[in-house]
């Protein structure tokens, strides 16, 4: 019982610390003199360097989902609904969430390990001594880059996965390029695209904040760096699912489903 209370208090303390860290992010982001050069540099690392991984995963996701869904729809005589079903699933849920989870793994752990290693080797202190605000230089630039890049990666993942879906449909069937896209987009509306896009900004923000928080507050030498990277992935992935759950409820309440 005492052990459970201790775990609970540690969890609440962690939540409070992340909230305070997020508050500091907002107070720093509105102050003038942003680190734009570092922001662009981070956009390149976060966005461009994750592009291949997201692209390949999205393609396989679209292809596999189409192939897996076909027998069930065939059973109900609704195989003509395949492009519509796949596109709605991919756009609303699967592509954004899978992209966010890949980013939580790659970006979250990368930021956590990088900042963690900078913390334990006193590089963050050195930055502060040299008159540079390390929070602004390291945290604000990375969180902004992640917030901007994850929606772009997600949009790209949607496009590539839909293309994968087209190939998947044509492995066993014969649907023209024109008809596939007509059916896919015919099933989609603004109510599918906009909530999906909005939630990816939150995903990106959460991945950036959690990765930076874990790395920036890393302790206990190299062991601490490893822990920061691992817990950044775990916490960021969990937060992605929580945001997704909230987004689905909000979308439902607003009647956008």
């Amino acid at each position: 019982m005492i052990h459970l209370i201790k775990i609970d208090s540690e969890f609440l303390r962690e939540v409070g610390e992340i909230a305070r860290f997020t508050g500091r992010f907002f107070s720093e982001v509105i102050k003038p003199k942003q680190e734009w050069e570092e922001f662009i540099n981070q956009c390149f690392w976060i966005g461009f360097k994750t592009l291949t991984l997201v692209g390949i995963t999205a393609f396989i996701m679209g292809l596999v989902m189409t192939i897996q869904s076909r027998p069930t729809l065939l059973e109900f005589g609704a195989v003509s609904m395949l492009p519509a079903m796949v596109s709605v699933s991919l756009v609303r849920e699967i592509a954004p969430v899978i992209t966010a989870l890949i980013c939580a793994g790659k970006i979250g752990s990368g930021i956590g390990a990088e900042l963690g290693s900078m913390r334990v080797t006193e590089q963050i202190d050195a930055m502060e001594v040299s008159g540079t605000n390390p929070f602004k230089y390291l945290v604000v630039s990375r969180v902004l880059a992640s917030t901007l890049m994850v929606p772009l990666l997600s949009s790209l993942a949607i496009a590539i996965s839909l293309y994968g879906g087209y190939l998947g449909v044509n492995i066993r069937g014969n649907v023209s390029w024109h008809l596939y896209w007509l059916q896919s987009f015919g099933a989609l509306g603004y109510g599918d695209f906009i909530p999906s896009l909005i939630k990816t900004f939150f995903f990106g923000f959460a991945i950036g904040i959690v990765g930076c928080y874990k790395g920036y507050n890393s302790k206990k030498g190299t062991e601490g760096v490893g822990r920061s990277a691992t817990s950044a992935v775990i916490v960021a992935s969990l937060v992605v699912f929580i945001i997704d759950l909230i987004a689905v409820q909000v979308t439902d309440l607003l009647g956008l489903t």
Binding site: D125, E128, G131, T132
Partner: protein, 246 residues
């Protein structure tokens, strides 16, 4: 400008971490041009002291004056300006892994020099600082490609680039072989001579202390236990002092 009597003055400094009272009413001062060594056992609070001086650690109580300014009364902008006058050589060197030697040296300039100044003078400033430490050829290398001694020299070059009035050295020879440690101590003397900077050196390397110190303060039990020249301290019969020399 009024001439400053003390470059750094610390009055009744206290710092605790939980129940561990690291600094207890610690006081000291550094006069212009002086090279002061703080000697103490590992974990005695030496590094905490110099991190308090540069405001990386906030003390519980006490006053710290750096170049005549009470650092606890400064806002962030004023503190950043003051930090340009104070160099800090970290024990772990703290070179930015993802940057080349050139970028490492240019980094402090980005905050304290305008873009025009950087475009005009950064290259020559980097070159001069690297030549001062004898490593001009490493300018485009990454820190990971350098040996321990070279990294220490590059870290010193980065400290020198803004031509500080005072340099804080946190265990500058720890982890180096005796020959390299001696070279670093000699380099510190050369830097002292060229830049006329005052310095505080945290160390327990007796060779380094003998070579570089004008005065030694022994930090024992969180207090300024004794302060004298290295030569005089060698003859002090107090067992706590003798521990370091025997």
């Amino acid at each position: 400008m009024e001439k400053i009597k003390s470059i750094i003055e610390v009055k009744n400094l206290n710092k605790s971490f939980g129940s561990n009272h690291v600094l207890r009413d610690f006081s000291m001062e550094v006069v212009p041009g002086e090279s002061l060594v703080i000697l103490g056992k590992s974990g005695s609070g030496k590094s905490v002291l110099i991190k308090c001086i540069i405001n990386l650690i906030v003390p519980d109580s006490g006053e710290i004056y750096v170049l005549g300014q009470n650092i606890r009364e400064l806002d962030q902008d004023q503190m950043d300006k003051l930090r340009a006058e104070v160099g800090f050589l970290f024990q772990s060197n703290a070179l930015y892994d993802s940057m080349t030697v050139r970028q490492n040296l240019e980094f402090p300039l980005r905050r304290h020099w305008t873009k025009e100044m950087r475009d005009l003078n950064a290259q020559s400033a980097v070159k001069e600082a690297l030549e001062d430490v004898g490593l001009g050829h490493t300018i485009d290398m990454m820190p990971a490609e350098l040996s321990g001694g070279m990294r220490k020299r590059i870290a010193l070059a980065r400290t020198l680039i803004l031509k500080p009035k005072v340099i804080l050295y946190d265990e500058p020879t720890t982890g180096l072989d005796p020959i390299t440690a001696r070279e670093i101590s000699e380099l510190m003397l050369q830097v002292q001579e060229k830049y006329k900077a005052s310095s505080i050196i945290i160390s327990h390397d007796m060779n380094c202390i003998r070579m570089t110190s004008d005065r030694v303060i022994m930090l024992i039990d969180g207090r300024n236990y004794i302060s004298d020249t290295y030569e005089n301290l060698q003859n002090v019969p107090d067992p706590k002092v003798r521990e370091f020399f025997d």
